[in-house]
Amino acid sequence: MSAALLIDILLWGSVLGVGLIAFRRGPPVFKASLREGSMDFVNIVPRIALGVIGSGYIAAIIPQEVITGWLGPDSGWVGVATAVVAGAATPGGPVIGFSIGTVALKSGGGVPQVVAYVVAWALFAFQRVILWEIPFMPARFVWFRCAVSVPFPFVAAAIAMVIGKP
């Protein structure tokens, strides 16, 4: 079974589960949440469309090699800071992010720097923020969360330096 199919089964299974709970609270509750969810969907589709279709163009003008170049053998905190910027600037989905991390590890990038890169990418890769987080969440929350997240790739790198390699 492919991962995508598994995700879909888990996803729709959860929808069914919470839908059933809502239905047992009474049809008005069920109908109201169904309407609310559909309205959210209708409102979000244009923004998702902009994000999905637009991010291809943004990714096309930031070549992967540029990002990989930033993750060079530069060690120490300067290297960590560069890795954080690279993580935030990485376009594309998880395949690109993790592949860049792997390439950096194999070509002599320091482990704390790669950890900082992966964590920064997970926390605030601009494309995921634009494509997913902003359409679904209040923008004020998203910017606040990103700002608060900035120190944590550095914290992860520091922990990696203390506890050593995997």
Partner: protein
């Protein structure tokens, strides 16, 4: 306090905010640069690829929206504000972290559900803990992408390093939030 059996009034969303405008401008500039570099065929190639991607994502987005709507309807408001609200303390951050770690699916579930939690009384701190936990220690992306590409050793080690981060991020969020917005902020959905 609203009666739990009554459906809540719908949230209002402004379709277009500043963020959308900035993104649209960014996309327009990028598309123009691609056009200058690769011509019309380059622009169309990306467009068809992304349109098919978009078509594949849509059902999941619908599922995510329904999940968020059902959750915000069935979760008891005052219980959520007690266990995930501004006064929920370390326990609230831990609950948010646990919730983010076990949530199934991808960004199409995590963000609608996080948005639903915010709407029913979770504070920024607990919601940040949830989102950060989903992205850093959630199993979905790790199993589907990180382990196959980066290897099991690196992934598990990276997750162990990340374990304290959701609670720390949530705590920092709460700490900054009460200083930035000393009064209970007015409910606004878009800046």
């Amino acid at each position: 306090m609203d009666a739990e059996s009554e459906p809540r009034p719908g949230r209002t969303r402004k379709p277009i905010g500043w963020s959308t405008i900035i993104i649209a401008a960014l996309v327009a500039v990028s598309a123009a640069l691609v056009w200058r570099r690769d011509g019309t065929s380059g622009v169309l190639e990306i467009l068809t690829h992304d349109l098919s991607l978009f078509g594949g994502i849509l059902p999941r987005v619908l599922a995510g929206c329904l999940l968020g709507a059902f959750i915000s309807e069935i979760l008891p408001h005052e219980k959520v504000s007690r266990s995930l609200g501004p006064k929920s303390g370390l326990m609230g951050l831990l609950i948010g972290t646990a919730f983010g770690a076990i949530l199934p699916g991808g960004p199409f579930t995590a963000y609608p559900v996080a948005s639903a939690l915010l709407a029913v009384g979770a504070d920024f701190g607990a919601t940040i803990a949830m989102v950060v936990s989903w992205t850093l220690i959630g199993y979905g992306r790790a199993v589907a992408w990180e382990i196959p590409i980066m290897g099991t050793d690196f992934t598990l080690w990276r997750i162990v390093i990340s374990l304290p981060l959701p609670v720390l991020a949530g705590a920092l969020g709460r700490f900054v939030y009460v200083r930035l917005y000393p009064k209970p902020a007015a409910k606004d959905d878009e800046t």
